[in-house]
Amino acid sequence: MNRTGADIFVDALVKEGVEHLFGIPGGVILPLFDKLYDAPIQLVLTRHEQGAGHAADGYARVSGKVGVCLVTSGPGATNLVTAIATANFDSVPMVAFTGQVKTPLIGNDAFQEADITGITRTITKHNYLVKDVCDLARTIKEAFHIAGSGRPGPVLVDLPVDVTLAEHDCEYPQEVDIAGYKPNYVGNPRQIKLAAEAINRSERPILYVGGGVILSGASKSILDLATKASIPVTTTLMGLGAFPEDHELSLQMLGMHGTAYANYAIMASDLIIAVGARFDDRITGRLDSFAPDAKVIHIDIDPTSISKNIRVDIPVVGDARGILESLVEMAHEADHKEWLDLIKAWKEKHPLTYERNGLKPQYIIQQIHDATNGEAIIATEVGQNQMWAAQWFTYSRPRHFISSGGLGTMGYGFPAALGAQLARPDAVVFDIAGDGSFQMNIQELATAVKYQLPVNVAILNNGFLGMVRQWQELFYKRRYSGSVLEDANPDFVRVAEAYGAEGIRITKAEEVRPAIDKAIASPKPVVLDFHVDREENVFPMVPGGEAIDKMIGGMA
């Protein structure tokens, strides 16, 4: 039976198990929106396409499913670009559908035309321009497969309007076979054996764990390996929650704003077991002085991550979970007493700390943690808010911390929190924001109100682009060029109320907990406007280009 491209599209989404679709309509995408009008899929109408992209991303990070968004051609598609790049950097499974002008007009500078496959070529895992309705079903099948398998990532499918209107008789394919795409999941047994031997020989091993462990569902295997062989564990920003931070073997986050003891430990280690992490420059600091005595085992599903930034001694390409399960079996029990004692001394000597006077952002994060028993899903914006959220909330489970790690996209957290809340309607969701970041997607308050998503936005309002100001204070003689916001910040409480959300202003430490409790209890979205200490800095900090044990500030 012949069906239109639009029918094939909706049928494909249903068969892929899509329950929520984030997007905004426009001219050439109307055939699809028309079919969605009575499809068993919830359309979540955001107020900006970037918001749709981040919401799909947040939904994917929290649920583990592929996030889906749908926008029109031209500006609709280009507005999605930042969200696609964000998802690509952080390996988030996402399929973005964009409308396109009809095929005979492509390349003719038609109204609302943009070469979106050209624009997104290097920020997607793959992209397609569907020129024939006969290819539509197979292309969608491939898109979902590519997005969700191997190292996940965003796939863009560009849909000319005539393709969605054309008719074709086809079934949605059951199987997918792409000649040039066969991700390798099973680690090479010889490499695994070499890794196990290195672990068993090591006296000062450290597990360095990234977001790949969460994607792979390998948290339990990390815990098993760490406890069996007494290996301390540090995580990247993306890896927060992959290992319980209240565990005695946890060193929390490492890197530019990591804990002193995590940075000291990796520098002093004789073996780094990197799992699903990519030795980003925010982690390694100055490369030529990074972990001079350490051999490196690198477990990653993406061969391009291996030996990209640092030379790896024992690469193991494959899915982290299966590889770690083998390593748990092959690893000998060990106590590494001397090594753990040394780390314990560092922990005692250099804990994370801040001065407790006035209204401190760190205190607010701790209070959010305590008020939710550490069970909240935390989304963050980018900058100081992100680093404080990473440092001061104790993460104990995967998929509870969502943040733009690689691209560092301000404006990510709030729409991502909305996607997270849709994925987990039962969960308490907080977006830890700054006054700068929140204003980059503040329009999504309308989306939160419309879909009754009780997300709580905690603005750590210091009247500055805080991280920029911190760098200017430390490295640019306090010349606050372009980083002052307070002279034109809105009254966030009244903005929230204008949208139909709740707003609460907090100016004193003793008001913090009651406001948080009230926000959690409220069925509405709540904007908490915390007027924090304006020039508080994120410490410790490794200045750019320095070795990561050369930290400044915050060292007790």
């Binding site: 496959t117 050209g118 290097t122 000649a179 040039g180 061969p303 391009t304 030996s307």
Partner: protein
Amino acid sequence: MRHVISVTVENKPGVLAHISSLFAARGYSIDSLAVGETEDPAISRMTIVTRGDDQIIEQITKQLRKLISTLKVQDLGGADFIERDLALVKVNIPAGKRGEVLEIVDIFRGNIVDVGQKDLVVELSGQESKIQALIDLLRPYGIKEMTRTGSIAMTRGAK
């Protein structure tokens, strides 16, 4: 170091763009890139001549493999392979020098494919170094125009 990388890809629109975008986005250099059909019309072969130290070449081959449209990526650095580049050179013939030029072309086993009043078009195929040598010898006479295909390459059969 110079490397010749042979890549088989699906013969589909946008594939060349995916590959050239990868090189541009990651700052890899392309000395030359030649592309054409293989024995299977659904598959094309690209021969890419690039430069870099071992680590960069390793990244290039891995990044190429990661592209969905690539089927096989082979760095011919270690292999015994045949490499050919084709050049067309329009060279000026100063009065009385025609014989000299013809002699040079003959030594290189080039072909004269067009003869004008004041110029010749020379066709030469061979390794890049051979073509470069001919160009160096013809340059003093005045090269008016030149075009080259870039290298294509193939591994030798088992002996």
